[in-house]
């Protein structure tokens, strides 16, 4: 749903999402890096488990919460991608 049209002269940044190897361009936010790698849906909603993705991209909506390097509830649209980041999807809590 999003692609990167320009010649990516900026260095490529390897990271993982759900254990899967991905690449981003330096300077991208985590949310943009994930979308550029084809990962739109970032989490399940906490009540119904419905799929959710980044909505505002400016830190307001908190829809893009992901786990980054073991830190839960990080706003993917605010954090810059770094080499080797391990990003995970957040699921609805078990038993609910």
């Amino acid at each position: 749903m999003f692609h990167q049209p320009r010649d990516p002269r900026s260095p490529s940044v390897p990271f993982t999402f759900e254990g899967q190897a991905c690449e981003a361009t330096a300077g991208q936010t985590v949310a943009a890096a994930l979308m550029g790698a084809g990962h739109l849906t970032l989490r399940e909603s906490i009540v119904s488990g419905s799929p959710r993705a980044a909505y505002c991209m400016m830190g307001v909506c908190f829809e893009c919460l992901v786990e980054i390097d073991g830190h839960p509830n990080q706003q993917a649209c605010m954090v810059l991608i770094r080499e080797g980041m391990q990003i995970k999807r957040q699921s609805r809590p078990l038993g609910e």
Partner: protein, 469 residues
């Protein structure tokens, strides 16, 4: 208690207002710290400006003349000697103006820190007004500025077909940018109610003082209407349809429903002040009826109702980048006066040229605010299944039910059905909750009031808190 560093002036936000305030405050010899949670200076409007100018000069030039002017402001800010901390989220401000902030995980440390301010300037800008409609939580439905942010800060463009819906200058601007970039647009759905222009016309003569805005707007409309993409006006119903992500948009026009396929559905219903910090601090707010939002009560220098706390830019009233920049200069001059660096007459003399420009730049606003008044179908969604609180998945029906059972205001709604209690802390539902309660009770949102916003205004873990003091 840790001993946090103290500054004459702490500014939150490094958009046009924050940068301008920092430049002027430094000229007056004040010590200045600017905090911003974004990765780069420029705010949303001039997002990623420095990197665009140096790394993507062709694209930078296409963004328009305002960007060239803004880059001068950024340079002045960089040379001002103001301290600048990026990637810091403010999560609490104490009454004594201790500002507590956290680092984002990319900065290598998430340790909470803080600073103390003799005077505080809140310049955190605006946010898009939520536009609740059935299906708006589906992946692939986004606020229209999200597409702009993705392009400016990360070089991403939508692939597939885009549908835009809503009203306001920003939607037009983004539609035009997408057209320029060769993005395929399936439809432009204009939700501005018919007759808006007539209502706004009496305000037009004054708006002509800032004719630049109007010619720019006319140019964008011309581009849109001659582009060949389907433009539908008078749209008064919208739904996003899909299972795992949005597949099509249903829209109603003159009583008939139509469908258009889409890969990305961009919404825009105007822009409202981000009042999260002024509310957490306890500043007084008032209802601004033309645009149906709350704004902090400010004097002509941007002072709030709290001592030593001021506001500049769009988090006071949405007036755009030029006005924001001017209001930043004015707020800094007032701070210089309050801290004894300038006499009242010295302040007024320095402020005079800014005030002249401000009057001219503001002249267009009453016209624009009337022309793009928010439309009822997305203030109070008619489909009762519409999700209002996206975090806790509270629907219009749930809200109406608790109000029918005697609940009268947002805070009671929150304690009853968790509406507004999720991580966004009512940023995405607050205005709609007040509108729906008001509609159910046949009152104005002004009478119903707004959620009480409490610290922490950004998620902070217990572990982080435990390491605090």
């Amino acid at each position: 208690m840790p001993s946090y560093p103290e500054y004459d002036y702490v500014i939150i936000g490094s958009g046009p207002a924050g940068m301008a305030a920092a430049v002027t405050a430094r000229q007056q010899g004040l010590s200045v710290l600017v905090l911003d949670e974004q990765p780069a200076v420029g705010g949303q409007i001039y997002r990623n400006l420095e990197a665009l100018e140096s790394d993507r000069p062709d694209e930078f030039r296409k963004l328009g003349a305002e960007y060239q002017t803004a880059s001068e402001l950024v340079r002045a800010f960089r040379q001002s000697g103001a301290e600048h901390l990026r990637g810091r989220s403010v999560w609490q401000i104490d009454p004594d103006l201790t500002i507590r902030h956290l680092g984002l995980v990319d900065s290598g440390t998430t340790v909470p820190s803080g600073c103390r301010a003799k005077r505080l300037l809140i310049a955190i800008g605006a946010m898009e007004r939520p536009m609740p409609l059935p299906g708006w939580t589906l992946p692939g439905v986004m606020a229209c500025t999200a597409a702009d942010v993705l392009y400016k800060s990360s070089g991403l463009l939508p692939s597939g077909q885009v549908v835009l819906a809503g009203s306001g200058p920003l939607l037009l601007l983004i539609a035009c940018r997408l057209l320029d970039a060769g993005v395929s647009i399936g439809a432009f759905l204009d939700t501005n109610p018919r007759g808006s222009l007539l209502k706004a016309l009496p305000l037009l003569p004054d708006a002509l003082k800032a004719a630049g805005y109007l010619t720019k707007g006319a140019g964008m409309l011309w581009k849109l209407y001659t582009s060949g993409i389907p433009v539908h006006s008078g749209v008064d119903g919208l739904e996003a349809v899909g299972d795992e992500q949005v597949k099509k948009v249903r829209f109603r026009k003159e009583g008939q429903w139509h469908e258009v396929e889409t890969d990305l559905f961009l919404l825009h219903h105007g822009v409202v002040p981000n009042v999260q910090i002024t509310r957490q601090l306890g500043c007084e707010h008032r209802w601004y009826e033309p645009q149906r939002y709350w704004e902090p009560v400010l004097d002509e220098w941007g002072n709030t109702t709290l001592d030593n706390v001021a506001v500049a830019g769009d988090c006071g009233r949405v007036c755009g980048a030029a006005v924001s920049e001017l209001s930043g200069h004015l707020a800094a001059l007032e701070t210089a006066r309050a801290l004894g660096r300038l006499s009242p007459t010295g302040r007024d003399a320095a402020a005079a040229p800014f005030r002249t420009q401000l009057a001219r730049q503001k002249a267009v606003r009453p016209f624009l605010d009337a022309l793009f008044a928010p439309a009822q179908p997305w203030l109070v969604p008619e489909n009762e299944d519409t999700v209002v609180c996206r975090c806790e998945e509270v629907r219009v029906r749930d809200l109406r039910t608790v109000v029918q059972h005697g609940v009268q205001g947002p805070d009671r709604v929150k304690s009853m059905i968790r509406c507004g209690m999720g991580p966004c802390q009512a940023r995405m539902c607050g205005l709609t909750v007040s509108e729906v309660i008001a509609d159910e009770r046949q009152l104005s949102p002004e009478d119903v009031g707004y959620f009480r916003i409490r610290s922490p205004i950004k998620p902070v873990t217990l572990a982080q808190l435990a390491g605090l003091d």
